[in-house]
């Protein structure tokens, strides 16, 4: 294993150091491991807090800023952060309007955020939580921990963040976050697994002719393995899984997401196939992102997330955002 790190133990601290140096719009609390908007808390605005294991950058720290998160708590690589971080972050962003916890549905994240929310309540901070669980690769049944939260987390953070900037109350921001999650579905495919630094080798092995379908963002193996094939067919496998879950129609927001080790060139090829698939189903990608947004270290592969838009969601998606990982202005020059 070769990584650009100083030591396995220093990964999170050193990353935070880089983030702090790179982004004067952020404030980094190294002691508590929280990344804040520089001027947090914002009076009267609902504070948005998310967090999760490191290794998914730019998620979540890269989405802290105007129009998105107020704070992010990075855990160790692929390990959910601890309640102390979330409590500290919630205190730091509460401008009197309460705090929304955006939690990806993993047992670890859920348990730690739950504990934090309880302790926040003890300290008089109003907290609402939204659970993101968009990954159709996992059966949502009594026999699993439920669906994983993956790409749709970005949708929830962006759209709920935009609503929070308008001064909407906590219950409304939480309801909308929930709605975005419900309207979103994702599916991921790996060509190779990433290497968790502490483990020192890829979390699973694939031969030169195999791909893994339905992977999550923690290097978990997927549900099935199949033979590698051309981009068009792989796109179809992924999109069929999404479409079988909720038939695609109307205007959609699409995230064609790289897992960290796949060139943008290939992501654009996949996006072309996904857009064609949507058209075939009578749906349209009216907004999209193509790139590395919700990654899994150096995993090679992609995930596709689709959110069925409403006018409100489109408007909030288009609202200005100013974070290291996502930024656009209200009136951007065109053409």
């Amino acid at each position: 294993m070769k990584k650009l790190i100083n030591s396995v133990d220093a990964i999170v601290t050193d990353t935070l150091r880089g983030v702090a140096a790179a982004h004067p719009s952020l404030r980094v609390d190294f002691e508590n491991r929280v990344i804040y908007r520089r001027n947090a808390p914002h009076q009267g605005k609902v504070g948005l807090v998310s967090g999760g294991g490191a290794g998914h950058e730019p998620l979540h720290g890269g989405f802290v800023g105007y129009g998105m998160l107020d704070a992010a708590c990075p855990g160790e690589v692929f390990t959910s952060p601890v309640p102390d971080q979330m409590i500290e972050a919630s205190k730091g962003v509460d401008g009197g309007a309460g705090v929304l916890h955006i939690v990806k549905n993993y047992t670890g994240d859920v348990l730690n955020f739950e504990m934090a929310a309880e302790l926040c309540a003890d300290e008089g901070i109003e907290v609402a939580s939204v659970l993101v669980n968009d990954d159709v690769a996992v059966q949502d049944s009594l026999y699993t921990a439920g669906r994983r939260g993956t790409g749709a987390t970005l949708f929830v953070e962006k759209i709920a963040g935009a609503l929070a900037e308008t001064g909407a109350p906590l219950a409304e921001v939480a309801r909308l976050a929930q709605e975005v999650n419900e309207r979103s579905r994702s599916f991921g495919v790996a060509l190779s697994a990433g290497t968790v630094p502490a483990a020192g080798k890829p979390t699973f092995d694939l031969s030169d002719t195999e791909i893994e379908l339905g992977i999550g963002i923690h290097g978990e193996p997927g549900r099935t393995r199949t033979t590698h094939r051309e981009a068009r067919e792989i796109a179809r496998l992924a999109m069929d899984a999404v479409n079988d879950d909720v038939p695609l129609s109307g205007d959609t927001l699409v995230l064609l997401n790289g897992m960290g080790g796949t060139p943008l060139l290939e992501l654009y090829i996949m996006y072309g196939e996904v857009a064609a698939y949507l058209e075939e189903k009578g749906a349209r990608a009216v907004r999209c992102l193509v790139g590395n947004y919700v990654t899994s270290l150096d995993m090679q592969g992609f995930s596709v997330s689709v959110c069925r838009l409403t006018d409100e969601l489109t408007r909030l998606w288009d609202a200005p955002v100013e974070t290291p990982g996502l930024r656009w202005a209200a009136d951007r020059p065109h053409g």
């Binding site: 160790e76 670890g108 348990l111 009594l142 921990a145 549900r223």
Partner: protein, 209 residues
Amino acid sequence: MDTSFFLAWIKEAASAVQAERDHLTQLDAAIGDADHGANLDRGFAAVRQTLADTPPQTPGGVLVQAGSALIRKVGGASGPLYGTAFRQMGRALGDAPEITPADLVTALEAAQEGVQKLGGAAEGDKTLVDAFAPAVRALAQAVRDGAKLEDALETATAAAQEGAQATVPLQARKGRASYLGPRSVGHEDPGAASTALIFAALRRAAGQA
């Protein structure tokens, strides 16, 4: 069993986790995300640190403090679960200076209940509960039967180890491994494996006392 007994247990558990760190991580790589060993090792290192910095005066104090440190340092699923386990044990023991085997059973039963309430896992779901529950049952039975503490803990450890081994053929229904569905079959659950280590550490602490 006094405060130093419980300090010895924690120390043994911490050493065992450190020694088996890579093994636990590799188990987690197979059906999870390859961090269980690193998580627990980080957590128990913090536990040792806090116990050294501010040594508690009662068995219950040791366990509550250890549990809090785990919650504070581990993260992941295992942090809140093991943290809750130790905290519940400690709370069950109150501030008693000396603990009987029957107290220990009660405390471990409280721990198990806390874990199951928090995580919602039943036996057979392929989690650490599959090692924890049989170990507690075996200990309770042995203590009821009037076995010597060391022997009772020997039985409990064996039950934990068997429980961990018995997770191999199971399909996971909780935690990260459940995402794999049928592909989770054929692998030992990492949390069950670490639970067995923790019971073995308890057995060793009794041997030293």
